[in-house]
Subunit: 265 residues, 2 copies
DNA sequence: CGACACCTTGAAGAGGTTCAAGAAATGTGG
DNA sequence: CCACATTTCTTGAACCTCTTCAAGGTGTCG
């Protein structure tokens, strides 16, 4: 509900197909076959600068689309791995769970991001991917990705980059979890979220959290009460405004200063 | 010095080439050109079950070997990415550093493991790789890897698996940093180290730490004093013996119980 | 053998957690 | 559309774990 005023029209965040491509495409709701070449999220999840004939081949990557209702899982720990998923719309969390009941949110993913990479190594997923709002994903069978990336060099390198990016992202999370205090973690979290939303055409100062305080806490290695208290502290300090899930950042620089405060320790 | 009595002869941990292959190979110390097909670490860092002609091609992956003295870096944050490195001998840490002086060890790597994956996404390394003991690595230029993996399917899939494995490993670290207490973290750390050493033919109850308490602490998100105290507590409880860097595990099950103690919270 | 890096241990303190209660929002069924 | 149940969020107070600061011990290497 807060999203539409924040979204910038015509941007990558506007995830509906344009009128032309819809007219050309078959609209069978069961098996929606779609072309990456027409997708306005392409620049986020597919390699850029392809030759026309390569672009056509890329269309073979996506088998079908799949809708995932809020609260439902796209895949679960233990399930057989078959495909990577490119998020078209919606918002996901991924989390690992242990037998003894430990739980850790390992990431939040939004439109244009790829999930499922964890499953490659053992042909089974090792985490759950849960939709935090109604979502739609492009299903990309991995054997087809491997096949195509033998022929399209740009796709091959793109797959490698996506995996490397995820490794680097996780390094950042390890830094956060291993060396930051609560305020620093939450500030870094907010800056990261808003930066990614901005890259998708949303505001760089307002956002709607799609996850609960508990999920934020799990991701940041904090209890939900600490997350709530830290939000309140930022509000008291005049850095942000918070109304439930809605957050407005008033002082981006203050958040940056909090994250980079290591020097004065 | 503690290593030789623990190592099992003839195992993968015995990293020297056999007499035959040395006789055949040119021994120019400047540019040592070596064949993966003869390496007894192959099963750790290369795909298995290759056809003979594929095995020959794999030999093209490794350009040269490179020695890294204890304390020296294999690559540094900011350096241009060119190659992945397979560790032949020695022990590395990788760590990310921020301008404001924060520092986080993101992993410890031993023989047969691959480092450098962080550099793919932006053509620059985003962390430092430091040898914790004199080491030797196989340099594998990444463009050559990409070239070859277009032709050898098993290599292609192997590269994907290595990257996926690293992603899954980091999920585990996030779980550790985000949800475990000091004792649980150190117990998990010891079990992981000893398990990996065991896979290389070393003892599953004795090990020599190649890193300082401070480096362990950085990896586990703890201060070195906490690491030291937790070691001492494990000794008091009769779970391990510690003499500086030498550790003997007396009660593996006790360590396992500590890691999986979440249920009784 | 002396300098330096590394490790251990104690005591005090801070930051985050736990437990608890109530408020606010959200969803559901009549 | 409203009442009720449920989930989510906020806030307070006590507690606990880990950190910080400090001092001394141990090992290593030139």
């Amino acid at each position: 509900m807060f999203e539409s005023p924040i979204a910038m029209p015509g941007s990558a965040a506007d995830c509906s197909d344009n009128a032309f491509s819809q007219g050309v495409r078959r609209m069978n709701p069961q098996t929606i076959k779609v072309a990456c070449s027409n997708c306005n999220l392409r620049e986020l999840c597919m390699p850029m600068g392809l030759k026309p004939e390569e672009l056509d081949r890329i269309d073979e990557v996506v088998a079908v689309r799949r809708k995932v209702k809020r609260g439902a899982t796209l895949f679960r720990n233990g399930e057989t791995f078959t495909s990577l998923y490119a998020i078209r719309t919606g918002f996901f969390k991924t989390c690992v769970t242990t037998e003894d009941g430990r739980d850790q949110v390992t990431g939040f993913q939004m439109a244009g991001e790829i999930i499922g990479l964890d499953g490659i190594v053992n042909d089974h997923h090792t985490c759950d991917a849960v939709a935090l709002e109604d979502a739609e994903v492009c299903v990309m069978p991995f054997d087809r990705i491997e096949e195509l990336s033998r022929e399209v060099n740009a796709l091959q390198h793109h797959v490698h980059k996506i995996m490397s990016r995820e490794i680097v992202r996780e390094h950042g999370v390890m830094l956060l979890l291993g060396s930051m205090r609560a305020e620093e973690r939450l500030a870094a979290f907010l800056l990261n979220l808003v930066q990614r939303l901005h890259a998708r055409g949303f505001s760089s100062s307002e956002l709607v959290l799609r996850m609960t305080r508990e999920e934020i806490g799990s991701y940041l290695g904090l209890k939900l009460e600490t997350v709530s208290r830290t939000f309140s502290k930022f509000v008291d300090d005049g850095i942000i405004e918070v109304k439930q899930r809605y957050v407005r950042i008033l002082e981006t620089d203050a958040l940056r200063k909090i994250v980079n405060s290591q020097a004065c320790h």
